[in-house]
Subunit: 229 residues, 2 copies
DNA sequence: GTAATAGTGTCTTTTAGACACTATAGC
DNA sequence: GCTATAGTGTCTAAAAGACACTATTAC
């Protein structure tokens, strides 16, 4: 199925991109696994990341958020740019660079649109365009920032128990953390604070609830070398 | 001086970007300061980052390297993508998204082209377009990766003494490191290895030379939490 | 009571910073 | 010899991991 390729020429007479696209990698944790959101492509059984074309005069970030909402009904609390994917041939329709975004949503997020579904983020099925590459970049970014920033702010509800946070961290890092050490280390980052509330869920002692001190991207204590004398 | 804005419409009848640009932030260390390379703009006394338009069928990374060479005569050993800058109005000529790259060159690099000159990367003069924002993103990226990757591979010659490396790290981190501790920590990253050579420069004991074990982007030991039992 | 989850305290290991000391060059 | 730079060894401080112990809930 070879369609006619789109093309564009600018007013100076040079070939121009046929469009500017955005793609969004929405990640969350389900059943202790990192999963990504995909949508069905029109007229094909292949799946793809949600995304769409940037309108003239529109900021690409706004396009990404708008398309995410249109295609999945979701609003992501945390979004950051992953980078541009613009190699020739990435889109069979023509010269269409794409700006990819990473969005995170809480584990219990329900997707209103039935055609959207979650796939394993680390062993994805075949995806359209270069979306497998984009997804891999998103996973790598998330893994890398896990302990150095409050990225997970988007993956946890407004108030959360340390055990909830731990399960999210464990799914992303693919590791098991000692509950005591995890709590101590997370608190010592300065990124979270107690809400004062408690929550009882099933058997067991009620858990103290915490919130992130900021819902904007921030770096934690991180590891910065001290200054020598 | 308001020129006519470029425009483009694709074969589907929708407005399209007038062009796709790349910009390169070339950073190095001179006189213990982090500096960035700028070029004179045609027909203006404002300065800008080197860059240019991506040709149809060209990979943006290749465009960046080609433009860097054309405008400054430089070939950078280390280049990575910074991200896309595509907000409307960033380029007065029209809708022109840009993909920015970070390139690093050794401290003693001479720029063949006389119109190119180095400016303070942390307190830049006014630059064209959104290039001050791009430069700030580059500095932040470099600072963030300093101790977690071999980014500095691009900023050191093929063989270097630990004291040379230390001066580069100090300029980037804006800190002073204890020479003994610095050497121990850099060696423990596993990113460098001794060449076996020695070098005498002026008075003082000759320095053992080292090289990076890889000249491709790589992450060092980094800090990854261990797995709980 | 038992099972389950939450949280505290503390010992040990690892890593980073400081700094005294030795080594080798030019003069 | 003196000064300058390079490199080693080791003490100390801080962070991370392990794990025993206590606390509070449902049943």
């Amino acid at each position: 199925m070879e369609r006619v390729r789109w093309s564009a020429t600018n007013s100076e007479g040079y070939e121009a991109p046929a469009a500017l696209a955005t793609d969004v990698v929405v990640l969350t944790v389900r059943d202790e696994r990192l999963v990504a959101l995909t949508v069905a492509r029109d007229g094909g059984d292949e799946r793809a990341l949600p995304g769409g074309f940037v309108g003239a005069g529109e900021r690409p970030l706004e396009t990404a958020l708008r398309k995410l909402h249109e295609k999945t009904g979701l609003d992501a609390p945390y979004v950051e740019q992953l980078g541009a994917f613009a190699d020739p041939g990435r889109d069979p329709r023509g010269w269409i660079p794409s700006i990819a975004y990473l969005a995170l949503v809480p584990p219990d997020t329900r997707v209103p649109d039935a055609s959207a579904c979650w796939i394993d983020a680390r062993n994805p099925q075949a995806l359209a365009f270069d979306h497998e590459e984009v997804l891999a970049a998103a996973v790598e970014r998330l893994e890398g920032k896990l302990w150095w920033s409050n990225v997970t702010v988007g993956m946890l509800p407004g108030a959360f128990a340390l055990s909830e946070a731990r399960r999210v961290y464990e799914a992303i890092a693919q590791a098991r953390y000692d509950p005591a050490t995890f709590g101590r280390d997370l608190k010592s980052t300065g990124l979270i604070e107690p809400t004062g509330e408690q929550r009882t869920a099933g058997p067991g002692r009620p858990a103290a609830m915490y919130r992130f001190t900021s819902d904007r991207p921030a770096w934690g204590a991180g590891r910065r070398k001290r200054i020598a004398a």
